[in-house]
């Protein structure tokens, strides 16, 4: 599977490393070279990582084309900004017709507003709060 990940933070870098290790063709995009260096230093995206790095804005359609969005089977938006994740995901889904698009949103209200758009949303706020709640009451 060809996977394009926008946002090289803790989640993006971990996902890129795991999917690359499983044999998927991974490209990861971030605005800052620093992020790639950071997670390379931490060993997440070490020498074993076989994927590609692309530096640039994941909301820029031209940049996404250069990163291979047109041939991607899956697109994942995990930058720190909900609006950036929404915009990148909508471009991938509506403009480039990527078959599977997953978007992280911290704000549950935004998830509610956008949920019927064919994009798969993941809200760590709701999932995290429920998980912690469960741990506390166990």
């Amino acid at each position: 599977m060809r996977v394009l990940i926008v946002g090289c933070g803790r989640v993006g870098s971990r996902l890129a490393a795991d999917m690359s290790a499983e044999g998927h063709e991974v490209t990861i995009v971030d605005r800052n070279q620093r992020q790639f260096d950071l997670f390379a230093t931490r060993g997440v995206l070490g020498p074993a990582f076989k994927g590609n790095f692309v530096i640039g804005d994941g909301c820029d359609s031209e940049l996404l084309k250069r990163a291979g969005v047109e041939g991607a089977d899956a697109f994942i938006a995990v930058t720190e900004g909900d609006n950036r994740n929404i915009m990148a995901s909508e471009i991938a889904h509506h403009v480039f017709k990527v078959p599977r698009v997953v978007c992280r949103l911290y704000d549950p209200a935004r998830e509610d507003a956008f949920k019927n758009s064919g994009i798969h949303f993941y809200c760590p706020t709701l999932v995290g709060a429920a998980a912690i709640h469960k741990l506390v009451e166990e």
Partner: protein, 144 residues
């Protein structure tokens, strides 16, 4: 008409000022407190401090009765989300977005924004027609 302007930068300020002068009812949304105070000192009590991309805040602006939302911050993604929330959650008849990356004019239209305007594209069109010695006729608004 009741118009909500999101983003109190240079564009949002002059836009709101001129709309008020034309007799329109305007609410200007600005997230920065100090900037919002300055805007209020210039334009009066039409300024609301808050995030134009937060549903709960937008609900306090009287957006349900707005004729149009004009999102003119410097960030394309914020303008897109403000317009989409206005459309999807509050059924605002007309949404207008300022676009910084000219490629987004077409993309915003695809994503449901009624009008997307790029200053860069307007200037390019103007220069092009000046150089070609023509009337600057072409407008770069993406109309549905």
């Amino acid at each position: 008409m009741y118009l909500i302007v999101i983003g109190g930068g240079t564009v949002g300020y002059y836009l709101s000022r001129d709309l008020i002068e034309r007799g329109e009812e305007v609410t200007l949304v600005e997230k920065d407190g100090a900037r919002a105070e300055w805007l209020e000192s210039q334009l009066g009590s039409i300024v609301m401090r808050g995030d134009g991309d937060e549903l709960s805040f937008l609900a306090t602006t009287g957006i349900e009765r707005a004729d149009a939302v004009l999102a003119v911050t410097g960030d394309d993604e914020d303008n897109l989300v403000s317009c989409q929330l206005a459309k999807r959650k509050f059924h605002v008849p007309k949404t207008v977005a300022r676009v910084n990356n000219p490629a987004n004019v077409r993309i915003f239209k695809t994503l449901g924004v009624d009008v997307a305007l790029s200053a860069t594209e307007v200037l390019l069109d103007l220069i092009e027609s000046e150089l070609a010695n023509k009337e600057p006729a072409r407008r770069s608004a993406a109309q549905p």
